[in-house]
């Protein structure tokens, strides 16, 4: 038994339903044929069913009949257990098996495709995320490639290794470049504005993505929405912490919830699918939110319905839309982005073969991009190929992180597609 093997796995976080789910897996293999990671790296160990099997073996070794924390642990002495193990030819999971499981567990974008197709209805995203947490707590994760993300968030409140003081630089730059009429209000006191625009780290710090923030501000201004931003006080939503199993997620989430609630806002809107999923789905498990959480596409459809936003300038393009996993499968916002696109004059939407809840993941999320960049590249390349097959001219998404990854995929594939973020198309239709 190696040192690694001896580490105890606290499975309480998996929940009773998660633990039962491991026993409900019938190894039918439906997950295998749909998993976007397995499509690019077809090792059986990466299939959700194999991960479920490996995890069951690790758990059984500890909590099963012959385990040290098993149901009859107090009744059977070590000698009897050893005898029984010998009779049953039982071999405990080896250190290399555990290491393989760890790598397989993290070589996953937690896109949730396996959960959609699982005939037993296993909530695999919850299962993988809680398993990652249990592994990390036992000192068996995250991956070395994830460490810089954690360090950066802890030091600067963003995963991009950028200084905290530079978070609102995008707004100042946009103001100087006259891309926006005025820098958005930085909220200083409770009740100052009814809407908080939570920009998110990617749009704040990535020079190639800051357009998303600029476009969002222009949309909100055009519709006369009274909103503000947190400026340099905005902190990472800590989505990546949750995805890779770090306990610090909870501290970040609780502090953010308190900070948001103190603002006295009615609505928090974000243009990042990852932030949206984290704040709208993960935060409420840790504290009550005194406001509604909207993705920008949901707010745009509302503003269009209210007549506050009138897209009128035709664009004459054919677009195909990529459902971000965090906006689609995770939070079931499939219609709003499509309604937005359909409301734009001259924009014709052509769906990809795999769309909606079957949309192939671009691989950007769940820590896959940081952990396994080569695999992630293959995923986004394949998604670009999916988009090309539609014959569309423009490839649209509603997430800065997907946008970034797919744009890189387009360059790698030397594709003729133009990568667009949905807010950009909206701005094109409303600017005077």
């Amino acid at each position: 038994m190696t040192e690694q093997k001896k580490k105890s796995l606290d499975i309480s976080r998996l929940g009773s339903r998660g633990l039962m789910a491991l026993d409900a897996c019938m190894h039918c293999g439906e997950c295998k044929v749909w998993c976007p990671v397995v499509a690019e790296d077809p090792r059986e160990q990466l299939t959700p069913r194999s991960k479920a099997k490996a995890l069951t073996r690790i758990i059984d070794d500890q909590y099963g009949i012959l385990g040290d924390q098993g149901p009859v642990a107090g009744l059977l002495g070590p000698k009897v257990k050893d005898k029984l193990r010998a009779i049953l030819r039982y071999s405990p999971p080896s250190a290399s098996e555990i290491e393989t499981f760890k790598e397989s567990l993290f070589e996953c974008s937690t896109c949730g495709q396996c959960a959609v197709v699982c005939p037993a209805g296993i909530d695999t995203v919850e299962l993988w995320e809680t398993s990652r947490r249990a592994m990390v707590d036992a000192g068996l994760g995250p991956l070395d490639n994830h460490q810089h993300l954690v360090t950066s968030i802890l030091k600067d409140d963003n995963p991009w290794q950028q200084p905290r003081s530079g978070r609102s630089k995008w707004a100042r730059k946009a103001k100087r470049a006259k891309e926006i009429q005025a820098a958005p209000t930085e909220i200083k006191s409770p009740g100052q504005v009814p809407v908080l625009y939570f920009v998110g780290c990617t749009a704040s710090y990535d020079a190639n993505i800051r357009e998303v923030a600029v476009n969002t501000v222009n949309i909100l201004n055009a519709a006369g929405v009274e909103f503000g931003i947190l400026g340099n006080k905005e902190r990472c939503c800590a989505s990546i912490m949750r995805r890779i199993g770090m306990s610090m997620f909870e501290e970040y989430a609780i502090q953010n919830i308190e900070a948001f609630n103190e603002l006295g806002i009615q609505t928090l809107v974000t243009s990042c699918a990852g932030c949206f999923k984290t704040i709208s789905s993960d935060y409420p498990r840790l504290g009550k939110l005194n406001f509604e959480v909207l993705h920008i596409t949901q707010l745009i459809t509302r503003l269009i319905d209210q007549g506050k936003l009138v897209p009128k300038i035709p664009q004459d393009i054919e677009v195909t839309y990529h459902d971000p996993c965090h906006l689609g499968r995770a939070t079931r916002v499939y219609d709003a982005p499509r309604q937005v696109l359909e409301s734009l004059p001259g924009v014709r939407l052509i769906e990809m073969e795999r769309t909606g809840e079957y949309a192939r993941c671009c691989g950007a999320g769940g820590g896959l991009k940081a952990g396994f960049a080569d695999v992630q590249h293959k995923l986004s390349n394949t998604r670009v190929t999916d988009a090309e097959a539609t014959g569309a001219t423009d490839f649209v998404t509603a997430c800065p992180f997907c946008y970034q990854s797919l744009k890189e995929g387009i360059v790698r594939q030397e594709s003729r597609l133009r990568m667009r973020e949905i807010t950009e198309l909206v701005v094109q239709s409303i600017k005077s």
């Binding site: 929940g15 924390q69 149901p71 005939p119 919850e126």
Partner: protein, 244 residues
């Protein structure tokens, strides 16, 4: 008349059920370690309907593949039908007196035909499903099929239980020709095929083979992938009854 296993069967069955109980208890012990309530709230009032749907309709698999659903349903329905029949016969055999009306009805009256048809129908369903499932694994090229060491032996175990059941029916007809068996069509085919082997010893051998395999199946269930028979519909029902 033919041989009945008596006390040894009850001893073996008790051991098998105890092993099954221990296995199930160990699984429940693991499930109980989970303290995180998770993001979903179970709506108890919706659970019974969801459970019935997941057990008898199995919508998850049906949406994915009609062929696989049909094979799975044939195995499930066949198995469930035979389980109901076996349990029913156990109850009337062991808890009712031989001259009671119910026993007379099923062993000497019109109920015999019902039992014959029931056994044939569900046995045939099970057999067909098992053969199709085995064929899919042995000759199919579906990438979903696992190179598992568990799958084929488990299906073979069920197939042997099912085949030995039909053999027993045939041998019973041979050994007790006075017993009406006009509606046991498969039983009659089996009786005809096994006629040269029909004898008390062979019957005893096949009966014990059938018992041993069936009891092994019961004891093995919680320690194998077969556990999904209980957990998959239960979990799917929980998920269905937790949807907002």
């Amino acid at each position: 008349m033919y041989y009945t296993p008596g006390i040894w069967f009850y001893i073996a069955a008790t051991i098998s059920l105890m092993l099954m109980g221990l296995g199930l208890y160990s699984r429940v012990h693991i499930w109980r370690q989970g303290k995180n309530p998770g993001p979903k709230r179970l709506q108890l009032a919706r659970l019974p309907r969801a459970l019935l749907r997941q057990v008898f309709v199995q919508p998850g698999l049906r949406e994915l593949s009609i062929l696989r659903w049909t094979i799975h349903m044939a195995i499930f329905v066949g198995f469930a039908g035979l389980f109901v029949q076996t349990s029913f016969l156990f109850l009337i055999d062991d808890f009712l007196s031989a001259d009671s009306a119910l026993v007379s009805f099923f062993y000497h009256g019109a109920g015999q035909a019902l039992l014959d048809i029931w056994g044939d129908l569900f046995g045939l369903l099970l057999l067909t499903g098992l053969v199709a499932a085995l064929a899919r694994r042995l000759f199919g090229s579906d990438p979903r099929i696992e190179g598992s060491e568990q799958d084929i032996p488990t299906l073979l175990l069920l197939l042997l239980i099912s085949l030995s059941g039909f053999m027993l029916e045939g041998l019973r007809i041979n050994l007790d020709p006075g017993r009406g068996s006009g509606f046991s069509y498969i039983g009659l085919i089996s009786a005809h095929t096994l006629a040269p082997l029909a004898g008390a010893l062979f019957y005893k051998l096949i009966l014990w083979l059938h018992i041993a395999l069936s009891l092994f199946f019961i004891a093995y269930l919680p320690f194998s992938k077969l556990l999904h028979i209980l957990t998959a519909p239960l979990l799917a029902a929980f998920e269905e009854a937790s949807k907002p």
